[in-house]
């Protein structure tokens, strides 16, 4: 049997396809404006890599920011649950998950594989992966590199503005003053780590701590977070995939609870078509 999880993040779309035992194929690609109708293609592409047909997949779960309207998914599950399950699958001993995504930052407490508590910041971009993207962009550096570069600093610059937009300006100001790029980057990463730490600290950080989501790919962020927390954090080999992985794991679980007949019936009804899955506006007409 085959199961798929598709995590349509605000920034990056991730797909994981599994059989009963292991991951057999994955895909990571930007969610960018032009890809927002292409969830079905992302899934097909992932399947193609291992020569699977769409009908062969028994259960598909969509998660992430754009999960709400994926017509071919058999279920939608929030990314909080999916990340938790994905990380727990890789690190069974995990107690605290810090997920730094493109649009939000979450802290999740896990106890015996069950979610105990979570906290989420999504009102201000200042504590999210978007912050890093904007910095990289402002400095004309690749997102992949800024973390490493920041590690070279011996004297992190003081960044006083918290707002992402203003931090961007502050970078320019510091550059004009002749501050070294690595020091600026170190200052920014430190500030980001502090904000994330304060937020997640509210649910009490306990060992083992796993850092996941796109932010986990950033070495600088990881280091400064570890410094705040006081001990090392774990990171999956590919931290971007934990949400999709969790979705795939859940897919297997759900499929396991259904009869073959029901599964077949469900598969028949799937619609593999292009529909925009971003529909955040469903309650913007409240009170009516």
């Amino acid at each position: 049997m085959f199961f798929a999880g598709i995590d349509i993040g605000s920034t990056i779309t991730k797909v994981v396809v599994r059989n009963e035992k292991e991951i057999i194929s994955t895909l990571i690609r930007p969610t960018g404006a032009e890809h927002r109708r292409m969830a079905h293609e992302a899934v097909l592409e992932t399947l193609q890599k291992v020569n699977l047909g769409f009908e062969e997949v028994d259960y598909i779960i969509a998660t992430g920011y754009g999960r709400i309207n994926v017509p071919f998914a058999d279920a939608q599950i929030s990314e909080i649950t999916c990340h938790m399950r994905g990380v727990n699958w890789i690190f069974p001993g995990v107690k605290t998950i810090i997920d730094v995504g493109g649009q939000d930052c979450k802290g999740i407490k896990v106890e015996n594989g069950k979610m105990k508590n979570f906290i989420m910041n999504d009102k201000c971009a200042a504590g999210t992966g978007r912050f890093l993207e904007i910095i990289a962009d402002t400095l004309g550096l690749a997102l992949e590199d800024i973390g490493e570069i920041s590690l070279r600093s011996k004297k992190p610059a003081e960044i006083s503005k918290t707002c992402t937009i203003f931090a961007e300006q502050e970078i320019l100001l510091r550059l004009s003053e002749g501050c070294a790029i690595e020091d600026i980057l170190a200052g920014l990463h430190k500030a980001l780590a502090n904000r994330i730490y304060t937020m997640v600290g509210k649910i009490k950080i306990e060992k083992e701590v796993v850092l996941t989501g796109g932010g986990a790919k950033n070495q600088g962020l990881r280091k400064w977070l570890e410094e705040k927390i006081g001990y090392p954090v774990l990171v999956a080999e590919e931290p971007l995939l934990t949400g999709a992985l969790g979705a795939a794991v859940l897919a297997q679980e759900k499929a396991g609870k259904m009869s073959d007949q029901d599964l077949a019936e469900m598969k028949k009804n799937r619609k593999l078509e292009a529909v925009t899955f971003f529909k955040e506006d469903s309650t913007s007409n409240p009170g009516a």
Binding site: I77, S78, E79, I80, T81, K114, M115, K116, F118, M120, D122, K123, E280, D281, S282, T283, S284, P286, G287
Partner: protein
């Protein structure tokens, strides 16, 4: 007058809660607006006023109020002052402010510094249920009566007050009956429907409210398709909710709201007024002592766990009788009263194995959507 009945009528009133009051005003009735659940509606009714609960508006961006209130305060009360400054409550004949919490207290003050009604009274509600406090509150209620009497055009009579007590006790018992219909699984009334009914009965005369409740009870008792079964049965605790955008969002995410302990909900109706020989006695005890809201301090007696039971036992009972498997703490940001209470109530529920979701919300419909993921994750977790 109006053909709509039951839930449909409630939905209609909810859309413009002050409309009925304006109609009555045009017919020559006097209208009294009050804050929070502490000013006794019985006294207003006994003096010929139609009492209406003053509400905010989550749909209306707060602009005018910023000239009078800082942005760091409870957005519900900021919104109240905002819509009032924009004229929504200009028709009131009496304004009754109350010391429910600091927010309510200061807004009462500021309201009457700028908006003048023919009659206005600030009801000082003591902080505790000490014996001296109850007596003091009784004195306060008498002052309220005197003040209202001056402009009501009718004379106060104990008899009228006793009648009003009966009328509202009946309302309370109807509300409790309605909520009881949600003990079954799936519940018969959705959280949004319930909220529409609660808002409605707070904004129309008690007799009308009572018939509305009777209609609704009959309607839903016979219904075959209610809100349907969802993943979780939850209790909502905390600051109030007065807009169905909020309850709809929660229900959309797979949660049945079966019971609540909030100020526009059971907290205003759960307990009756005792029919004491001096009606003010019964009123003072009911409003100050029998309404259980974290704004009233209850003495610590004995051990800590006894203290906790003294403060929150009713929640445990609610949770059990309505068979809930999750609790949502609806905290309007900057609400100190509920804010300080979060850790204790959370632990209290978690001790009996019921998971809790805490959200500090901003009292604005535009800020709701980002909460969706949280409710969904909570539903997945308890479902």
């Amino acid at each position: 007058m109006n053909e709509l009945k039951g839930l449909a009528r409630a939905a209609q009133i909810y859309l413009d809660p002050q409309q009925r009051a304006r109609e009555l005003k045009a017919e020559g009735k006097k209208i009294a607006g009050y804050l929070c659940c502490y000013p006794p509606v019985e006294i207003m009714t006994a003096l010929g006023y139609v009492p209406i609960r003053i509400l905010g508006d989550m749909n209306e961006p707060i602009t005018e109020a910023d000239a009078y209130l800082p942005t760091v305060m409870c957005a519900f009360y900021r919104s109240i002052l905002d819509v009032a400054m924009k004229g929504r409550y200009d028709f009131l004949d009496a304004f009754i402010g109350a010391h429910a919490c600091d927010g309510a207290e200061r807004v009462s003050y500021i309201w009457r510094s700028y908006l003048k009604s023919p009659c206005s009274f600030y009801l000082d509600v003591p902080h505790s249920n000490h014996a001296a406090a109850i007596d003091f509150f009784k004195v306060q209620l008498n002052y309220l009566k005197d003040e209202l009497e001056k402009t009501s055009g009718c004379n106060f009579s104990q008899e009228a007050l006793r009648e009003a007590v009966k009328l509202y006790n009946k309302q309370r018992s109807l509300v409790r009956s309605l909520y009881k219909l949600n003990r079954q699984d799936p519940p018969l009334v959705s959280g949004s429907e319930m909220l529409q009914v609660m808002v409605s009965i707070m904004c129309i005369p008690a007799e009308e409210g009572n018939s509305l409740l009777e209609e609704v009870i009959e309607e839903v008792s016979n219904r075959s398709a209610g809100p349907g079964q969802k993943k979780g049965r939850i209790l909502i605790w905390g600051s109030l909710i007065d807009n169905i955008a909020m309850t709809k969002l929660i229900e959309d995410c797979g949660l049945n709201i079966v019971i609540d302990d909030t100020a526009i909900g059971t907290r205003s109706f759960w307990v009756d007024v005792d029919e004491t020989s001096d009606p003010f006695e019964g009123l003072a005890v009911r409003y100050l002592d029998k309404i259980v809201c974290p704004r009233t301090f209850r003495d610590t007696k004995g051990t800590r766990s006894e203290d906790l039971d003294n403060r929150f036992k009713y929640l445990k009972i609610m949770a059990k009788e309505w068979n809930v498997n999750g609790v949502y703490f609806n905290i309007i940001r900057n609400c100190d009263i509920h804010g300080y209470e979060i850790p204790e109530v959370r632990d209290y529920f978690e001790d009996i194995g019921i998971p809790v979701l805490v959200i500090e919300q901003d009292y604005s419909t535009t800020a709701l959507e980002p909460l969706r993921t949280r409710f969904q994750a909570f539903a997945e977790n308890i479902g």
